[in-house]
Amino acid sequence: MTGAVPPIPSGWFAKMAWHLRHNPKADLWVAWFSIPIAYNIMGIVYFTITHMMPPPDATKNHAQIVEFFTKFGFEIRLGFGIMLVSLAFLVWANDLIGWLIMKMDIPHVKAWGYAYMIAMCGGGFTGAYMSAFTMSVASMRPDRDPAMLEVLYDLTYISFDGTMGFFLFGSLIWTYTILADKSRLFPKWFGYTCIWNFTTEFLVSPAVIVHSGPFSWNGTIAFWIDTVVYILWQIVYVFMLYYAVKRVDPPQDRFRLKRIARLTGQLTPHPA
């Protein structure tokens, strides 16, 4: 194998294989694809399989809680099984964003990138995993003492809203870096939309206190408006990341420089 790499083939799979083999941004693109895939799995699990979302009433009595876990028991455990397999791939998304932050033009940019990665991964571990365990354990034995089921029920929904600080800080870091970035890796207007997102993280906090009304965990503000804002923002963010990955320079290391040179036929492959 010498000289330039072969031209991009036409078939779907052949094209994918070509990109994995020769694209200097192959890892970035795979990380990007993991975002729509993993978030869609998460959405399907929450909304259709487990019936965890939209959240049931916080004012349910013991009998209703038992009924909830009895009715959806198998689906809850199946759904969380699917989610637990796929959830680690959200780490790809978080670290892709953290890595992109490191490519921005602001002082101490690496620290911002690491801070983002750690904040978002911590949020995933506490916010998403906790509810998976409590829901699975509750639905495993719906014949448990109803008071225990109630504890698990509350833990599920409050762990969801009560650990938002990780995401709050993650969003805050991303917002700041987008707005301060001189290289404009992300457009400034996208930085302003990130402000929406972290505002919603504040608005869910009363859900740990009140049991009903717009601020309860299934309320108009704390759930519906926040979720709509979050999903809209998520759609925008996937597109913004697409353009950012497209725009960012391929990672600066000697192998990639050679890989790019090989793409243009200037170098023999596999240098030492």
């Binding site: 099984g81 780490v91 995993y129 192998f255």
Partner: protein, 234 residues
Amino acid sequence: MPKSLNHTLLLSVPIIGMIWIAAFLVFPTYTPMSPTMTAADVAAFYGNPANATRVQFSMIVFNWFEIGMVGLYATIAMQMQRMSHGGGPLAWVYMAVTLGGACMFAAANLFWIVAAYRPDRAPEAIQLLSDMGWVCFTVPTGFLIGQAVTLAFAVFLDDRGDPVFGRWVGYLNVVAAIAWIPAAFGALYTTGPLAWDGWITFHLRIWTFAIYNIAMFIAAWNARHRLDKPSVAE
């Protein structure tokens, strides 16, 4: 510094591995407690002083050393930065998912040790804590899967003439990831191979984990001299 200390981090791994095995054997049962046990049986299990002491000893040792394997994983992450795509985010993904797995194991630890702490608690409460412990121990294999898939991906992308890890490391990681998938559904049934004491969710998972760590240690040990060179990500 004497040259023999160059690989202290990596050499700590087999020692910690042996401590893990010892702590694992101290735990009162080799296979997990059956998910079909009644609340009274579970309370009696933890209420038995012999069992409670062994749970406590085992959990104390695990508490000390549960993050100890991080030396191996951090070394692998450093090697990932020496691969063709080492300048990208993959090495950080690997480190983050590793931390997730350790945190989940720590949570399981915590639930068991609280279950053994007050044997006079209501049996229902002890059963709940025990269930939480076994579920946290069994189902979060997503992190191990993420770890294996990320590393396999990085190994397969490493297409230089002299790759950091051989291709076998990539295949091993793919096989391990597949072997860990069923354990994520460990809460689905209370009997059969998919229950948390079943052969798929327990033996397959544990033995894959043991073989995986030994094989990855060998791979990391064979590649250790590469760490003397600067990484591509710098």
